[in-house]
């Protein structure tokens, strides 16, 4: 009977939409790599972002990286009672905690690195390479500033271990500016002032890239409900909405106009 859905968030960016309306009483519904959101009908449904397979041993201490690993061993079900010890026993091969060879394919180019297994994809990109377009803001899979594409799907680079990103095709914002002509999406963001400080912008552009791949012909109403997985502190959403519509129309060659 609702005349509006209140919280319905169509996923455009990576895994977890901001739970703007789900405040304290519901706070614990968001946990690790599992996000819970309200569906259009108002019912709670979980969005489980399938975690990568575990490969190695993280560093000492109970860290978020360790938690990511443990959850992934539990195949996403938080109730599965695998202790870290059991998890280690179940792991096929132990690597780390010191640096291990890691090869990442970024924008089609392989990079050989020596990384501790606990290093996130985001930190590998930013600290161990020089792909600084993906930004670290929340560092907890909430804001989407670190969004990159992994095998074409948008992911939060802060919540993926670099070792688990091996063998994947990782596409960063830098890839969109490689060709002589910048990507039309970037042009659309600039034309519509879809940015202010610009810190969240690369993440938004990558999320928009993925959104348009799935929704090549979106309406403004769809765009207004999308991008719940990326946050902009400057509040450039109006410009971002218009930018995505313009980019879609440009790609459609006026079919949608």
């Amino acid at each position: 009977m609702r005349t509006f859905d209140g919280t319905a968030v169509e996923r455009a960016g990576a895994c977890a939409p901001p739970l703007s309306h789900l405040r304290r009483p519901f706070a614990l519904l968001y946990f690790g790599t599992i996000a819970v959101r309200q569906s259009k009908e108002g019912a709670l449904m979980s969005m489980i972002k399938k975690p990568p397979e575990p490969k190695t041993e993280p560093g000492a201490g109970v860290s978020r990286r360790g938690f990511i690993r443990d959850v992934s061993l539990g195949t996403g079900a938080l109730g599965v009672a695998l202790t870290p010890g059991e998890a280690r026993a179940a792991a096929p091969a132990l690597r780390g905690p010191g640096p291990v060879p890691v090869t990442l394919t970024i924008n089609g180019k392989p990079h050989k690195l020596q990384l501790e297994p606990r290093v996130t994809l985001l930190d590998a990109l930013r600290n161990y390479l020089d792909y600084t377009g993906a930004k670290r803001v929340c560092d907890r899979g909430t804001c989407g500033a670190c969004t990159v594409l992994m095998d074409g799907k948008p992911v939060y680079a802060c919540s993926i271990l670099a070792i688990d990103a091996q063998g994947k095709n990782i596409q960063t914002i830098e890839s969109l500016a490689l060709s002589p002509q910048p990507d039309p999406l970037i042009r659309a963001f600039v034309n519509n002032d879809g940015l202010q400080c610009g810190f969240c912008t690369p993440g938004f552009v990558m999320a928009a890239k993925a959104f348009l791949a799935e929704n090549p012909n979106p309406t403004m109403e769809q765009i207004k409900r999308a991008f719940g997985g990326n946050l902009c502190r400057c509040g450039s959403y109006n410009g971002i909405r218009r930018a995505i519509l313009e980019a879609a129309k440009a790609a459609q060659g006026g079919k949608n106009a």
Binding site: R2, V137, A177, G239
Partner: protein, 714 residues
């Protein structure tokens, strides 16, 4: 002296045109380097150790284990955190560790052993009686004007309410921090700051080195909202670690520490009584307010806000001390809160009078500094939101759980230009540089500078090289108080005009005229009004031979020469829907009508309004620093549980810049802060209008909405 005044509106070719920001591509393509992105050869990563207790005494600090760890280059105990120090809030910086990698630095930070004597704390000010019982209040005294007692006796109607906004955080997307490379006696400093020209001097003072030895560089910054003026304790620690190790050091606060200590806006609570005549004329105001900004307490809000000349006032304020990091300036300090308190009280009065609040606001506009501006803006906003058609007396009577309502908020701000110096260089090949020790916070400062230079020199925007973000450029003020656009546009106008005058001196003899008969239009220097008697820009500059023109221009705030002024009004109206079964509020529309003087770039000016309106939505519905009474710690130092609005949450924001000739004549006025002020009040009043009952505190979370509805039915 040239006539520096802005060209008449019909003569402007660049100013007033919707122009893309000139750093848009570099930002949107991820190539822009922020301080957080700086990587220097051999750079060490630093991690901080902070106090987990809200109030404690440091007994001992043992860094020996951390120092021995693999990859650790240095451990530094913060100045002001020696054993014996009384720590007054959680998140207080104790030590910093520099190591080869960020991961190793974090490990080592965990290995620093600190022993504390835990002391009693107090962290929540919302309940004033508890603050009094805890001995944490400092009454600021009573201020009386006129005869409030008599006014309340004579009043036809008296309304009363309690309203409050909590502490919220700056939550800058780029965290606070810096990279510092201290080599010999030279310090290379990449901060994220709103104060490029002055932050190096402050760091130098703290370190006891000559200010000229500190080189500040910042191309881009991920906002500050008023929290990034100082090097801070972490800047000093970063420099000392660099000196100690002889290597560059990067130290940025992790998000949780950032949320706890790197900036917050003070709370404001108030019990307000209003006395009025039957016709809606307000004749008396009484308020008891309280607030906190940390251990220093909180200053009195500027109430009654906008309607400052309400007669017969009695104001009481109490500052509450809590164990939390100190407040910092937050985009229009104290104004959004004061607007919220005042406009909610006026809305409640209108309800008690059985009057349309739009009429009440207009009726009392004579109490404001600019009655005509506010009346015009109220009518304009009402027209844009459809007030006549959609407004109804309090409580939407239509059937079903979804209730819709409208509300009003008002604001005011200064925004005159700050002290700014600009140097304009013209080279023999025609290259133009404008240099200012300023900064672009994302507001579009860089673009505005280029537009003003292009306008003056008759060149396209793309022909201007804007050089900002370096303290070796001429001193330009900090970006606070919405003073930047007035300052830099005025200094750029003067510098480019002075440089152009020098170029005219070279060109005039060639064209057989006097320099004052020349003008720069459409890429050429020509005799005024005669495009045929002209010399192309490049040919004109070639006359310089091997010289270059280098001229200064200054905006002197004491004598802005009509180029910039301050003092604006703004009105916002909100249209919301509230689900009375779940307590969820949805913004349908937020109308922003903003007085803004001469607008250089309407595109980025509107973005300021969109962004500010979005922050109002955040504060009205989502943002709140939640402190735990038992542990004294912030419960939501992150972006998961510290909520901000996302794209699906903001509805439709409608911006109307009030660019009428009478405003244009006033010159350039800052726009960063004014539109962030009225929104919270507008949304709060709209919710009340929808559901028929006041939700007394923001953010108006579902639980608070439901509690307010329950009290009504009880």
């Amino acid at each position: 002296m040239p006539d520096y005044s802005w060209p008449a509106p019909e003569k402007r070719r660049v100013i007033g045109r919707r122009t893309n920001r000139i750093d848009g591509f570099v930002k949107a393509s991820g190539r822009a380097k922020y301080a957080y992105d700086i990587k220097r050869p051999g750079m060490l990563y630093a991690a901080v150790v902070v106090c987990p207790y809200a109030h404690a005494r440091i007994r001992s600090i043992d860094t020996s284990a951390a120092e021995k760890m693999k990859g650790v280059a240095a451990v530094h105990v913060f100045d002001g955190s020696a054993p014996g120090t009384e720590v007054l809030w959680a998140g207080w910086e104790i030590a910093a560790v520099a190591a080869e990698t960020e991961e190793l630095a974090r490990d080592a930070a965990r290995a620093v052993k600190v022993e504390y004597e835990v002391l009693p704390h107090f962290v929540n000010e919302a309940d004033l009686s508890k603050a009094k019982a805890a001995g944490r209040v400092k009454p600021a005294g009573e201020k009386v004007t006129g005869d409030p007692d008599q006014a309340f006796k004579e009043a036809d109607v008296v309304s009363e309410g309690v309203y409050g906004c909590p502490v919220i955080c700056h939550l800058t997307w780029e965290a606070h921090g810096q990279v510092i490379e201290w080599k010999g006696d030279q310090i290379e400093y990449w901060p994220t700051t709103q104060a490029v020209s002055s932050i190096g001097n402050e760091l130098a003072k703290a370190l006891g080195v000559p200010p000229a030895n500190v080189h500040v560089m910042q191309d881009h910054m991920g906002v500050g909202y008023g929290s990034k003026f100082s090097p801070d304790r972490w800047g000093i620690a970063c420099a000392k670690l660099s000196k100690q190790t002889g290597r560059p050091v990067k130290l940025f606060l992790p998000r949780d520490v950032e949320q706890m200590i790197a900036g917050n806006r003070p709370s404001h609570y108030a019990r307000i009584r209003l006395a009025a005549k039957k016709d809606g004329t307000i004749i008396g105001w009484e308020s008891e307010s309280w607030s906190t900004g940390g251990m220093t307490g909180g200053g009195a809000p500027p109430i009654p806000y906008v309607f400052t000349n309400i007669p017969n006032q009695r104001l009481n304020h109490t500052a509450v001390q809590v164990n939390a990091a100190p407040q910092r300036a937050w985009r229009a300090p104290n104004h959004p809160q004061a607007s919220y308190l005042t406009c909610c009280a006026m809305d409640d009065l209108a309800h008690k009078l059985g009057m349309d609040p739009l009429e009440l606001f207009k009726k009392n506009a004579d109490y404001t500094a600019r009655p005509d501006v506010y009346r015009w803006q109220l009518d304009k906003a009402a027209e844009l939101i459809g007030w006549k058609k959609l407004w109804h007396p309090r409580g939407d009577k239509t059937p079903g759980p979804i209730k819709r309502g409208l509300g009003i908020g008002v604001g005011t701000w200064g925004g005159a230009g700050h002290l700014s110096n600009c140097r304009c260089n013209i080279y023999p090949d025609g290259t133009v540089e404008v240099e200012l020790g300023s900064q672009d916070l994302g507001t579009g400062t860089r673009t505005v500078i280029a537009m003003v230079a292009a306008e003056t020199l008759g060149l396209p925007v793309g022909a201007i090289r804007v050089k900002i973000g370096d303290n070796r450029y001429p001193f330009s003020g900090t970006s606070g108080g919405s003073t930047t656009v007035g300052g830099v546009s005025s200094s750029t106008r003067k510098a480019t005009m002075n440089a152009l005058e020098k170029l005219f001196e070279r060109v005039a003899p060639k064209l057989g005229v006097k320099p004052e008969e020349l003008e720069a239009v459409n890429g050429q220097i020509q005799v005024k009004g005669d495009p045929k008697k002209a010399m192309a820009w490049k040919a004109a500059c070639k006359l310089l031979g091997t010289e270059k023109i280098s001229e200064m221009g200054q905006n002197d705030p004491k004598n802005p020469m009509g180029l910039t002024t301050g003092g604006v009004g703004g009105v916002q109206m909100a249209d919301v829907s509230v689900d009375t079964e779940t307590g969820i509020i949805r913004i349908n529309r937020l109308v922003v009508v903003q007085d803004c003087g001469l607008v250089i770039n309407p595109k980025t000016a509107e973005s300021q309004c969109y962004g500010a309106a979005h922050l109002s939505i955040c504060a009205a519905l989502y943002e709140e620093r939640i402190m735990d009474d038992i542990t004294g710690r912030m419960l939501n130092p992150d972006i998961e549980f510290y909520k901000v609005a996302g794209n699906p949450d903001i509805g439709e924001i409608i911006v109307h810049l009030d660019i009428r000739p009478e405003h244009d004549k006033r010159g350039v006025i800052g726009l960063g802060e004014p539109p962030v002020i009225p929104g919270i009040a507008a949304i709060a009043n709209a919710v009340t209008n929808a559901i028929g009952v006041r939700v007394p505190y923001v953010p108006m979370t579902p639980d608070r909405v439901l509690a307010a509805l329950e009290r009504r039915s009880a």
